[in-house]
């Protein structure tokens, strides 16, 4: 049971006996001002404790970062090398001749360009105005003064474009452009009134985009084996190779077919289970290759730059050549120095990253370890398959889907562009779903370029010399560690409680006991008593016997035996001498009468008596 019969008594008892400091002062202090001050101080101390502890809790999940640099034998990363041009133009002729013809026609119509000055002559077939369906599918249009008339390429006639079609009302376009604008129109095949217009400020971009769209259509229909054959072989691309001072050959390279860059070759892909490592830093001990870039065999519309693309990545990572590849110039020696950094973040609840990607609801379409790029691309591909019914050419196929082409999915381009726009504007939710990987490796590249001497390399415009090496064999490891442990948190809590109130866990328990359990039980008891009294009153009203019961109660209360039962706790609590020691307190009547006034106490004893 509680230590005191009433709430105020309980409070007093608590204040006198608790181990926290302020409370006792409130009771011990003399004078109202002092007492008030002490109440104020104690309350502010309690407030401070709560605030500071809240602060501690909120800052619990913070990480501290440690950066270690250690010198060690580093594994050499995988280096993927691609020609910028995906397929040999000469061998692609069968597939692309129609498209090229149309493109040239477009150039002629819009810009008055005609072939002839070209250094590399290509056979230009007879232009037949009929039979091509590229422009039927996606007409290239030219707008004059950004008005609503557009010149169709094929017919040359002007046609009206509805104002609602201009979806490019985005912030970036300035209207009122006096220049001609070129673009193309994509219409929903099922509902021809729904069209989207894609405009470009320059014809270069427009034609490239337009060409690429058709190109993807054509390539989507070619099986992988054929495509691999159409692209460059390892012998075509790699002329010489040295690694760590020793010569290497095409067996050290693994072929990897990239949809947009054709055959790429990965050095040190770790496919046969061994990962090479360098013994020393410096350009001598890295990878040195001479690449043959057959510039004459380039596709003129698909790619406009010459060279190779390389990417340095981990053996488990997928090389995103088109996004983050480093370009290599021809007729030059490019040396790429690497700095290796490994990072590790703490996952939840410290930061929002994922360890393996397993907790992300996006299927990993790439057969490689998780990265943000993989997630974004997979997410887009999934959305594409869901809404357009076919897969985009540049990304791997999900199970059961196939690449888009006109014949099967006449609507796909409109659908793709719409989707892509949503993706870029973050309306597809991919950027929200995909999270960073918690641990990743990064090779920071420093590129320097030197011109090759013509006398050294006779075919110099077609050759590119590439060196990839570790600048030093230092591994920088950035790792996050929890800044706070439970022990630190608890000792900080202890410090705070101790500082403000000299309180401990025991006193917290005490508070819970006194303020919650005891006071609740007192309140409950009082309520019970009140109810009982009310009941008794009712009974008394009925029978008239009740007053006698009241007399009895009182008499029972006056009996010192009954008091002794409860009082000792009181006295020991106050650490007062027992009443017997002093001669004075042994005069009970006035006190009992005061006690009698405290009805709850009385009632309580009464009930006890009743219970007996």
């Amino acid at each position: 049971g509680p230590q005191a019969p009433t709430l105020s008594e309980l409070m007093r008892w608590y204040c006198l006996n608790t181990n926290t400091h302020g409370c006792r002062r409130i009771v011990v202090s003399r004078g109202r001002l002092r007492r008030f001050l002490w109440i104020l101080l104690t309350l502010s101390a309690v407030g401070l404790i709560l605030w500071q502890c809240a602060e501690l809790l909120l800052n619990y999940y913070s990480a501290s970062v440690s950066v270690t640099v250690q010198f060690q034998k580093l594994p050499f990363p995988a280096v993927t090398i691609c020609n910028i041009n995906p397929y040999k133009y000469s061998s692609m002729k069968d597939y692309l001749s129609e498209l090229d013809k149309e493109t040239k026609k477009a150039l002629e119509t819009f810009y008055g360009f005609s072939e002839g000055k070209s250094k590399v002559r290509r056979s230009v077939g007879e232009w037949d105005s009929a039979g091509s369906d590229f422009f039927k599918q996606i007409p290239l249009l030219k707008f004059e003064d950004f008005s609503k008339t557009a010149t169709d390429l094929r017919s040359g006639q002007k046609r009206k474009i509805e104002g609602s079609v201009f979806h490019k009302d985005s912030s970036i376009v300035n209207s009122g452009d006096s220049n001609d604008i070129i673009g193309f129109q994509l219409c929903d095949a099922n509902n021809s009134s729904e069209c989207a217009l894609y405009t470009f400020s320059s014809g270069v971009n427009a034609i490239q985009e337009w060409y690429k769209l058709h190109y993807m259509n054509i390539m989507a229909q070619i099986p992988l084996e054929t495509k691999e054959k159409l692209s460059y072989s390892a012998d075509d691309l790699l002329l010489t190779c040295f690694f760590d001072g020793l010569s290497c050959d095409k067996r050290h390279f693994t072929r990897f077919h990239h949809p947009l860059h054709g055959n790429c070759y990965t050095f040190n892909s770790g496919e046969n289970g061994t990962v090479l490592s360098t013994s020393t830093g410096g350009s001598e001990y890295g990878l040195q290759v001479v690449l043959y870039i057959d510039e004459a065999d380039y596709n003129p519309f698909l790619v406009t730059s010459t060279g190779a693309k390389i990417i340095v990545h981990d053996q488990n990572e997928y090389p995103f050549i088109e996004d983050i590849g480093t370009e290599i110039e021809t007729a030059a020696a490019t040396s790429i120095g690497m700095h290796f950094t490994r990072s590790r973040k703490l996952s939840k609840p410290y930061s929002d990253c994922t360890e393996t990607g397993a907790d992300i609801p996006v299927e990993n379409l790439y057969n490689k370890s998780y990265s943000l790029q993989i997630c974004l691309h997979s997410c887009f591909q999934k959305a594409m398959v869901d809404s357009c019914g076919c897969a985009q050419y540049a990304q791997p196929l999900p199970a059961g889907a196939e690449y888009c082409n006109y014949k099967k999915n006449p609507n796909w381009m409109y659908c793709y562009y719409r989707l892509h726009e949503k993706f870029v504007k973050e309306q597809l939710g991919c950027q929200q779903i995909c999270k960073d990987a918690c641990s990743f490796k990064e090779w920071a590249l420093t590129t320097s370029i030197a011109q090759c001497l013509p006398s050294v390399l006779p075919l110099r415009t077609d050759l590119a010399n590439l060196m990839v090496f570790y600048k030093d064999l230092n591994e920088r490891f950035i790792s996050e560690n929890p800044a706070n442990t439970l022990v630190i948190l608890l000792s900080n809590f202890g410090g705070q409680l101790g500082l403000w109130m000299s309180c401990s866990v025991v006193c917290v328990i005490e508070i819970v006991e006194v303020f919650f359990i005891d006071s609740l039980s007192i309140v409950m008891r009082r309520q019970w008593q009140r109810a009982k009294k009310w009941w008794n009153d009712r009974k008394r009203d009925r029978s008239g016997k009740a007053p006698q019961a009241g007399e009895l109660e009182r008499q029972g209360h006056d009996n010192p035996v009954c008091i002794d039962e409860d009082l000792p706790t009181f006295n020991t609590a106050l650490r007062l001498p027992l009443p017997q020691d002093s001669p004075l307190p042994r005069t009970p009547p006035p006190n009992y009468s005061t006690l009698r006034l405290e009805s709850a106490f009385t009632e309580q004893l009464g009930t006890r008596l009743d219970e007996r």
Binding site: Q52, S201, S305, T306, E327, A331, L574
Partner: protein, 641 residues
């Protein structure tokens, strides 16, 4: 009067302390304090008392020592930095592109005509020092007025102590063989002379030319200079941001003294800054620029290409310091990593949030740009320049009411400028008064290049571009004048180093509390207790002093004063002997009422109710029991009756 009364009453309340002499107070304090040591001192026997006294003293000093260390640690304001790398949606940087050449040569030719002839003649003299070989006999006489302001001279340093200085246009250069003497040139100001030495003639001639042309061009009004530079529609041929088209109108024009007209994409001044939420070239900015190399000023800039710089939105691009060149005839791909440094402000490090607390007037604020240390240093230099030389330097913006320096109005400016520039003192003043910004963003670039356009595609690309530029079917562009730029975010696009306080106030308090609690079991409230005791003792002192003063005067008056404090008047002393206990050492019975601290009135302190009063003192068993009851409280049980 009322106030005074109230004040006195309040004082009396305060005065109702636990004792009336220092000793009583101290004993009371020791007995009642919540720190653990003092109680032991008064409760134990004399030997233990001593031990406890020293122990308490030792622990108290330990606490203070530890506190000193902790507070020192806190006041040193250490920081811990945390580093994070990853990808997130970020603002695309502002991209400033300029031509390496500030003005079209065709436009400024008439202004620089004299200078060009002069420099040609000078070059000829340097290359062929013997007179007579010169081929300029047929040309009209040179205007040597320009020359005499800042002449180029050769310095013969064969004899280290007496170098021979020769004006290039003076005739007797025959004695010098240029092979053995590196031509060391200098500018000469009026009055005082200073020589700037160069080991190479090429360098000297370029510097000299820049100085001269600066002086000439600074007289041309700004509008005219902007007109003479490259226009946006001529320079920016194609632009594509992500999948969205953009054109030269999305660029903000800014005039840069070194590079003429510069154009800034995504500056964020009027419109919202663009975000990029995807890594990779496909989602970045693609630009095709025309730098028209054939229209370059021959002696001014020796590098050809585009100057570009990535910077933060609303910050001024300091191209000369942070810009990079892009080569003509190539496609330059720039992978961007945003390197952010977030520093804690004062007092952790001496940095500024927005530059408002820097004592240098930021001249770049006229561009509406944010503060940066570069802007501050330049403004500081310009302010010094105006103060000392009386005119502003052409490279930096002008405050109101000041003109740019030129040779006509300010003949000595070049000397003034170069002496100011080499003055370490002035530089130090600027470095000291400028602070770095707390949030610093740098764009780390990974640059790679490929040839562009490829041989196969150059025909149609040049054709389209020249058609779009000047509506002609002829190819007016060539490989030397065209640049393609791709600027995009890398796979990991941010690296943030942020500082956080190593020691927070929470940490400090909990450590203080931990120490105090550990050694003495105390809390802040104990300190307040201590303060209270000090106030009480002060009060006792006041009483004593007053009573002493009054005692000197009159005994009666003193007695009356005693009666004023009611506690004294009514308090009586009662000793309650407890059987079989030893004498409590702390409350000795003294005959005089002033030395007793407790008065127990038999009539009221009896009975349990009185014992429950808060004024009752807890005394361990075996000691004397004294119950202090103030009259006010004595009356309280009666009142409750």
């Amino acid at each position: 009067m009322n106030l005074k009364k109230y004040f006195i009453r309040a004082l009396h309340r305060l005065q109702k302390g636990p004792g009336y002499t220092y000793k009583e107070l101290l004993v009371w304090y020791c007995d009642n304090t919540n720190t653990h040591g003092p109680k032991r001192i008064i409760k134990e026997g004399p030997k233990k008392k001593l031990i406890w006294f020293f122990l308490t003293l030792l622990f108290a000093s330990l606490v203070f020592w530890q506190w000193g260390i902790l507070i020192n640690t806190y006041l040193s304001y250490n920081v811990t930095s945390s580093l994070s790398i990853g990808f997130k949606t970020m603002k695309f940087p502002a991209v400033t592109v300029c031509n390496a050449n500030p003005f079209k040569y065709s436009e400024v030719k008439h202004l620089l005509k004299e200078l060009d002839r002069l420099i040609e003649a000078a070059l000829e003299r340097i290359l062929q020092p013997t007179p007579g070989n010169g081929s300029n006999t047929s040309s009209p006489p040179l205007d040597l007025e320009l020359w005499h302001q800042i002449p180029l001279v050769l310095i013969d340093e064969h004899d280290k102590d007496n170098p021979i200085i020769l004006d290039i246009f003076e005739s007797n250069l025959a004695g010098l063989s240029p092979a053995s003497v590196p031509p060391q040139c200098s500018h000469q100001g009026s009055g005082n002379c200073t020589y700037r030495n160069f080991t190479s003639a090429a360098q000297a001639v370029t510097e000299w030319y820049i100085l001269q042309s600066t002086s000439i061009l600074s007289r041309v009004p700004l509008q005219e200079r902007i007109r003479m530079g490259y226009q946006a529609e001529d320079m920016i041929l194609a632009c594509l941001y992500g999948a969205e088209p953009c054109n030269y109108k999305n660029f903000t024009q800014i005039y840069h003294p070194d590079h003429g007209n510069c154009y800034i994409f995504n500056w964020g001044m009027d419109e919202e800054a663009l975000n990029s939420s995807n890594p990779g070239a496909e989602f970045g900015l693609k630009l095709i620029l025309d730098i028209s190399q054939q229209d370059y000023i021959p002696y001014l800039s020796s590098a050809a290409g585009a100057r570009l710089m990535l910077h933060q939105q609303k910050s001024f691009p300091f191209l000369k310091d942070q810009g990079i060149y892009a080569m003509a005839g190539t496609e330059t791909s720039i992978g961007v990593l945003v390197d952010e440094l977030e520093r804690m402000g004062y007092p952790y490090s001496d940095c500024t949030m927005n530059g408002s607390d820097v004592p240098v007037k930021n001249l770049y604020s006229q561009y509406n740009t944010s503060y940066s240390i570069q802007a501050c240093l330049r403004s500081c230099f310009q302010n010094h320049m105006i103060e000392i030389c009386g005119c502003g330097h052409y490279m930096f913006p002008l405050p109101e009411g000041v003109n740019y320096c030129n040779n006509e109005d300010n003949p000595g400016w070049a000397y003034c400028y170069s002496s100011l520039r080499s003055s370490i003192r002035h530089r130090q003043i600027c470095i000291d008064s400028c602070k770095e910004t707390c949030n610093d963003t740098q764009y780390k670039m990974t640059i790679s290049m490929a040839d562009w356009p490829s041989e196969a595609s150059e025909d149609w690309i040049f054709h389209i571009l020249s058609y779009e530029r000047d509506m002609s079917t002829n190819v007016t562009l060539d490989r030397n004048g065209i640049i393609k730029l791709n600027i995009y975010f890398q796979e990991y696009n941010y690296r943030t180093i942020s500082e956080s306080a190593a020691t927070t106030i929470v940490w400090l308090l909990s450590s203080l509390g931990g120490q105090f609690g550990f050694w003495m079991g105390g809390s802040v409230l104990c300190l307040i207790e201590f303060g209270e005791i000090i106030i009480d003792s002060l009060w006792i002192t006041v009483i004593n002093v007053i009573s002493w003063c009054k005692g000197l005067k009159q005994k009666r008056a003193q007695a009356r004063w005693w009666r004023l404090t009611p506690t004294w008047a009514s308090s009586t002393r009662t000793r309650v002997p407890s059987p079989g206990t030893r004498r409590c050492p702390l409350s000795p019975a003294r005959p005089h009422p002033t030395t007793t601290r407790c008065g127990c009135s038999p009539s009221t302190s009896s009975g349990p109710t009185a014992m429950q009063k808060p004024s009752e003192r807890r005394v361990t068993a075996g000691c004397q029991h004294c119950v202090c009851v103030s009259p006010a409280e004595q009356s309280s049980p009666l009142r409750s009756n």
